[in-house]
Each structure stands twice: as C-alpha cells, then as structure tokens.
Amino acid sequence: MRLVLRGHEPRWLAPVLVLLAAVITFVLTAGPIRAAGASPVAAYQRYLLTPLTSFRSFSEVLLASTPLLFTGLAVALAFRTGFFNIGAEGQFLAGAVAATWVGIGVPDLPGPVAIPLVIAAGALAGALWVAIPAVLRVRYGIDEVVTTLLLNPVALLVVQGLLNGPWRNPVSQFPESAEIGSGFIFPTVIPGTRVHLGFVLAIGLAVVVWLVVGRTGTGLRMRAVGLAPTAARFNGVPVERTLLGTALASGAIAGIGGVSQVAGLQHQLTGEISPGFGYTGIVVATLAALTPIGVILVSLLLATIQVGAESASRVLQLPPQMGQVVTATFLLVTVGILVLRRYRIRIRRPSRTSEVPS
C-alpha cells in the first residue's frame, strides 16, 4: 500500500472524507462507550440526534456554540494570514475582564449606550492582548506561537487575581465578580430560550469575515501573505501591516467572545468563564479548514455533541467527558484523513514483471 500524489482534487472528495472520518470515529469510540456501559448506537443517538429533536435542547446547542463561533473565527482568520494565534484563550479572557470592568464600573448606563460600549471595550482588550506578540513577530520575527500561547496563563492569572482581590464578590465573598449593570446584559433573541445577542453577533462576524477574506482586496492580500509571504511582498503587498492588522482583528473577535459570555450568559466574571474555549477554537478552525462557513458548521456540531453528552450522562450514565473523547477522536481522525485530499492510496504493489501482452 502506498500513497500517491493526486493530480486534481475531485469536488466530492472533501465531504466524502469528512463522512468517512465520522464513520471511523464511531468505530473507534464504540469500544470506550461500551466499556462505560452503554450501547454505542444509543450514545450516538444522544450525541447527535437528541439535541436537535426538541426546540429547547436545540436552543441550548445554539447557546453552547456561541463562544466557539467567536474563538473559531478568530483562529481561522489569523491562521489564514499565517499568524498562528494560539492565544485566543487569553484574548477571550481579556475581553471578559474588560466587559466586567465596564459593566461593574458604570453599572447605570442604559442599554443603547452600554452594549456598544462593552463590545468595543472587549474588542479593544482582545486586540491589546494580542498586540504584544503581534508587534514582536512583525518587528523582530519572534515566533507568535510561543508568545501568544504563553500569554494565556497570564490572562488566567489576571482573572484569578482580580477575583480574589479587588473584584471579590462583596456579598458572597466568593471569588467571583459582582453582577454587571442591567443595561450591559445582552438581550435574548429567541423568546423563551437563553440564546442571546452574542449568537447573532457571532454569525454576523462570520459573514463579515467571509466577505472580507473572499471578496475584498484586503482579503486577497491576507491570503497571499498567508500562502507565500515573500511573493506577497514582491507584489507590493504590505506584509507586516497585513499581519499586524489581521492579528489585531483576530484578538478583537476573541475578545468579543469573552464579552458575549459575560454579558450574554453569566452576567458576572467567574474563574470558570472559559473552559478552554480559546483552545477549542483551534480545533474548530482546523476542522473548518479555516473557512467561516466551516466554523459555523463545526461549532454547531461540537455544541450538539456537548449538549448531547449532558443528556447522555443523565440518561445513559455515560461520563460527560465522553463527549470530549468523541470530539477529540473526530479531530484526530479528520486531520489524519485529510492527507487523502492531496494523496491517494494505491493498494496494488508495483509489479516487477509487468510484461503486458500487447
């Protein structure tokens, strides 16, 4: 069996490969699920179908997908331009901190002022958090993978420091902030559910990113920089400025994600504001092949599995972490199998005696 370079990639290939990855994922996870005492078919029914069958649980899927949309979009945008932003987690937290700071600092602002203000504050904070690695990369060529990654725990420590210090809840004395002002709280967009403005904002940003990357000169420059920086510079593309701009935009999107989680769901800052949304964003962006439409689909898929995992743990007594096992397996299988977009497998051995009678 050998891998042979493919000439052209057929159109149907990518969807078929993703489907194949899903089948392999099912086979690989069937063992652990059975070992945990449940039927794999029933478990997958819970993971993939049950959340979509009721209006209530579907709205929970939309809610759960919201932070992933922001971080996935942030990572996809940056990666597309060749800025390997591993720091969406830190930028997300920076946005959450900024939202809380504004929300408890001037709690009496009315909604029409408060909501644009809190979004701007979060975007700015996210952009600032990525600005240091971005400038270091552009000016001095320092690898942004390391610097953005290392700033993540710094952001987490800032959050914990604030919550254990100045922002400790004055009433409960728990390490969580006071509630933000009521004007800052994102309105729900579907009555009777918890789906809030953040979801609409995220979809809107996805559309904007799609338009910018795919339809504008700026987007063409960004793609050129991501694909071949030297050639891009040769063509008169301002490589440094493009990288810097994209990095800041990426940080801003992740920052708005933090705002959305504070203002839309928790209404206060807690130490568990992000269970790794920034890191999951990398998974989302990768599975989405760095496209905005892909980010939407993958975020919804992962959110479905997450909501389904909760239901599976209630009904089937499966540990809720099994959802993450499924997601992680899916990621590994997909990344592995995508090599087939460029290569194809040839089973036949190269024949030594190939005297073809002519």
């Binding site: 370079l5 052209h8 339809r215 000169g217 050129a224 694909l227 050639a231 040769f234 063509n235 008169g236």
Partner: protein, 507 residues
C-alpha cells in the same frame, strides 16, 4: 573503448504522478564507452527517468537491466552497488569539510576512519580524471567547476560503470565546460557509460555519441550525434522546426536606442549592498539602460545577480547608491512604488514572485488590486475578464481559476511575463527568463522581450545563458564578485572573451 554491449537497459519504464503520465513506456539502452545524451523539453520526463535509474523514484512498471540481468533498483544504495553514479546540478557536498572528508562521508561506517587511504584514493581518481584536485582543500573554497569535479570524484569512488549527469554544464563558465568535456571523454575511453542530460543543443552535439529525444514521456527517436545539426534536434524535441530567436530574427526589430534623448529607462549609480563579515554583495555597481535597448548582464551565478535584482525589485534596501527609473528615484522604495515608477520585474525565482496556491486571475491582479475594486469589494467580473484577455493575448495554457502552481514552468513564466507587460513598463529587469523552459516557450519569451524593446522599453537582461545574451542583447556587461568587470557590444562578444571576463581573470 566501446564494445557495443549495453551496460544499462531500461525497458518499458512507466511512471505517473497523479493524473500526469511522466514516463510512458520508455526504452533506453546505454552502451559501454558512449556518451548518451537525453534531450527533451522541460516536463518531457528526463529527470524522472534518471531518478528512477538512480533509485530515487520507483517506476510503476518496467524493467531495468544492468549488464544483461534484471535489477530492482529500490534505493540509491542499490544503484551505487550496481555501479551507477549520479552528478546533479545541485551538489551534495558539505562545504565546510575537505574534499577527502566529503568523499569518506558517503561510505563511512562506525569506528575509525582511514583518512590517509581516502586521500590516496582522491589523488588516484583525480589522476584518472586528468584534473588536479587538492584532497585537503575545503569544498567551500573551491570554484563551482572544481566542486563539480569533486562530485564526479565522489560518484567514481564507488565501482562505477554508468555516470548520470543532470545538466552538468548549467552552472559552468565556458572554460570549465571544456574541461568537463575532456574529463567525460577520458572516462568513456576507459569504458564508462555516461548519460548526459542537457538543454543546450550545441553541447549535446559536441559531446555525445548518441542522442535520445524524449517528448511527453516517450522516446521519439534515438540518433547518432555525428553530423547532426542542433536545429534537427530541436525539431525532434518540439515536433515542429523552432529554434529560439537567433541573431537574424532579431534584426527584424528596429531598435530606437539612439532616437530618444530623454532620461534613461534605468540608471543605477554606485549601488552597494554590504554584507556582514564578507565582501559586499554588490560593490559600486553603475549602469545605464536607454529606452529601446537591451543590456545583457552576463556572469556566473552567485556573483551579485540576485542581490542586484532584489534591490531593483524592492526586496532589499541598498547600503548606498541610487536607482532611477525614467528619472524617478526609487532607491530603497517599496515594490509598490517601484511598480508605479514603471519598472517591470521578472526575477529568476518564480515561486518568490507569484503565489502558487492562488489562481491565475488572482496573481494577475495582485500587483494592482486597487484598480480592480468596485466599492469595498473586488470586481470579480472584471478580474475574470482581465484574466481571459491576458490568457488569450499571451497564449497561456490555463484557465483563469487554475492555481498557478499547477501550471508548467513555461506557462508560469508566461503569467509572470504577462503581468509585467500589460502594465506597459518603461523599464524591465528580467533574470534567467528562459531557465527551465522548453525551446518553444523560450522562443516566445525572447520574442516578447524584443517586441518591448521595439516599443521603447529599456531592458536589463540578467542571464547565464550565453546563447540567450548573444541573441538578444545590444551590449553586454559582465558581473563578477559584485562588480561590473567589463562591457562590450554584443557583436564583439565571443564565448572566449566573455568566459575570460566571467571567470574574473581579465579584470
């Protein structure tokens, strides 16, 4: 001498990469003591065939026989053991090691190494080649020609019956080519078979006994080299009788170099690019290209051509000096400003100047995105129309949406050329414009450059191909070690005079 028995036979070799069939049932026999030239356009399958013979690529089908018995060459190790040696354009030498150490490197095992014996072997083989080689010289201090001799030495240090040489003359000055040919003749007299790959027709006729011509993965003919004209070989290669532009063709374009008194198309004054801890890459280069003139810059690669083109392209800032395009100072300007001043740039590294994963149409507008906007968005209809127009005008074999990286070298070069020419540049700097192109595509590029000259553009042609320089340039400058060491009208240029200048011996 040749005893007529085949030392290597390739039978029905077939190889495809994806949908692309590169070798389509190739039969080739190499006789002891002969130089067998393998000729073909780029992409005809020469290099793949040689890689298969050397065990670097596995064929899909076919048999290789060595001295009559079939051998499965699964790796270079097997090839070497079967008596096959290879010398490629890109040397596989460690430049900080001595000649002897490099030689030992390929066969070294665990435990102590007998350098003395190796040194003696170097001397013995050098005698056999008829060239002086110092076993203790650091490879990095040797000239390109000498390094190539070390490569040959390395191949011969194993029991070698067949030597594959992949475009060995591409990097050499004329004197070194003569030496190489003398070496090859000595080796074939001893009974070695040499497979000689080259693009240069006159070299092929000069050195080889037989010539096999590959076209689209098939051998179209194998002919005796004695008495054959380069023109006939070119015919076999492309199927129709085209040899690139010759001196005579050039006469039909009426140059206008004396007519315009205005500012020079391109004027370079005292241009210097310093390097840390080394001689400057460019050392006070001054030159002028007038409108309607092609100035050829000859020189062996690595003597400052690349830094010069980089400065002119806006990729490197010069340390001092100035560059003017039609009187506009563009010293240290951005690529954007240089383009706006009217300088078209075609550097030798095609992948450094186009984005291979973007489409043809996108690459065609990348230099000038602002001109293709409608409101905040790109005007995709106009971009597509522009691409269709350019593709038709320049006869590019591609669709607007094809990624440029999927095109052949010739079509890729046409995209680059087209992108420069549609802007009607007043000056053009072009480096190695036909490297790796087949005869047809090379002729096309030459005709386009001459047409631009007729229209009044000043062209600086940086090339290592003497034939190309002699055919196109009005006058020649020679660069050596970062300096212009001489200039002469093309009519007075002979390969001998140029070779002398290029080797730095006539400074």
């Amino acid at each position: 001498m040749s005893d007529g028995s085949p030392v290597v036979e390739l039978l029905g070799i077939r190889k495809s990469f994806g949908d692309l069939v590169v070798n389509d049932g190739v039969d080739l026999a190499l006789v002891t003591g002969e130089v067998h030239a393998l000729l073909g356009e780029n992409g005809a399958g020469k290099t793949t065939l040689m890689r298969i013979l050397y065990g670097l690529t596995r064929p899909d089908a076919g048999t290789i026989r060595i001295a009559g018995s079939p051998v499965e060459i699964s790796s270079p190790r097997v090839a070497i053991a079967s008596g096959i040696g290879m010398v490629t354009q890109h040397f596989s030498l460690v430049s900080t090691m001595t000649v002897t150490e490099n030689l030992v490197l390929s066969s070294v095992g665990l435990g102590p190494v007998d350098l003395e014996a190796a040194r003696a072997q170097v001397r013995a083989t050098a005698d056999r080649l008829g060239v002086p080689i110092d076993p203790d010289a650091k490879v990095g201090s040797l000239s390109i020609g000498e390094q190539q001799r070390v490569e040959i030495l390395k191949a011969l240090s194993h029991e070698c019956r067949v030597l594959i040489m992949d475009e060995p003359t591409a990097v050499l000055v004329p004197q070194d080519v003569e030496l190489l040919f003398a070496t090859i003749r000595r080796l074939t007299d001893e009974g070695l078979g040499v497979l000689f790959i080259s693009h240069k027709l006159h070299e092929v006729t000069a050195i080889s006994h037989r010539v096999s011509v590959l076209r689209r993965g098939r051998i179209v003919d194998t002919v005796a080299a004695a008495g054959i004209e380069p023109r006939e070989l070119a015919t076999l290669m492309v199927g129709t009788p085209t040899v690139g532009v010759t001196r005579a063709d050039r006469g039909s374009f009426v140059g206008s170099q004396n007519a315009e008194p205005g500012p020079a198309s391109l004027e370079i004054n005292d241009l210097t690019v310093a390097r840390r801890g080394a001689r400057p890459a460019l050392d006070s280069i001054s030159l002028v290209v007038r409108p309607g003139e092609i100035v050829g810059l000859a020189g062996v690669s690595g003597n400052g051509q690349r830094p010069l083109v980089d400065v002119l392209s806006g990729m490197t800032r010069p340390t001092s000096g100035s560059v003017r395009v039609r009187g506009t100072d563009v010293t240290g300007a951005t690529p954007h400003a240089i383009l706006a001043a009217g300088l078209g740039r075609i550097p030798e590294d095609r992948h450094g100047s186009i984005v291979a994963d973007l489409s043809v149409e996108q690459n065609l507008v990348l230099e000038d995105i602002e001109a293709f906007r409608r409101g905040p968005f790109l005007d995709r209809r106009r971009i597509r129309a522009h691409a269709r127009d350019v593709i038709e005008r320049f006869d590019i074999k591609a669709a607007p949406g094809d990624p440029v990286g999927a095109l052949s070298g010739g079509n890729m070069q046409k995209v680059l050329l087209a992108r420069v020419l549609v802007r009607d540049p007043t000056a053009i700097v072009v480096a190695q414009p036909t490297r790796g192109l087949d005869v047809g595509a090379a002729g096309y590029v030459h005709r386009q450059l001459l047409e631009r000259r007729r229209l009044g553009a000043g062209i600086l042609l940086v090339s290592e191909d003497l034939e190309e320089l002699l055919a196109l340039a009005d006058r020649l400058l020679v660069i050596f070690d970062g300096r212009i060491v001489g200039g002469l009208p093309t009519a007075e240029a002979t390969p001998e005079r140029l070779g002398l200048l290029m080797s730095g011996e006539a400074a």
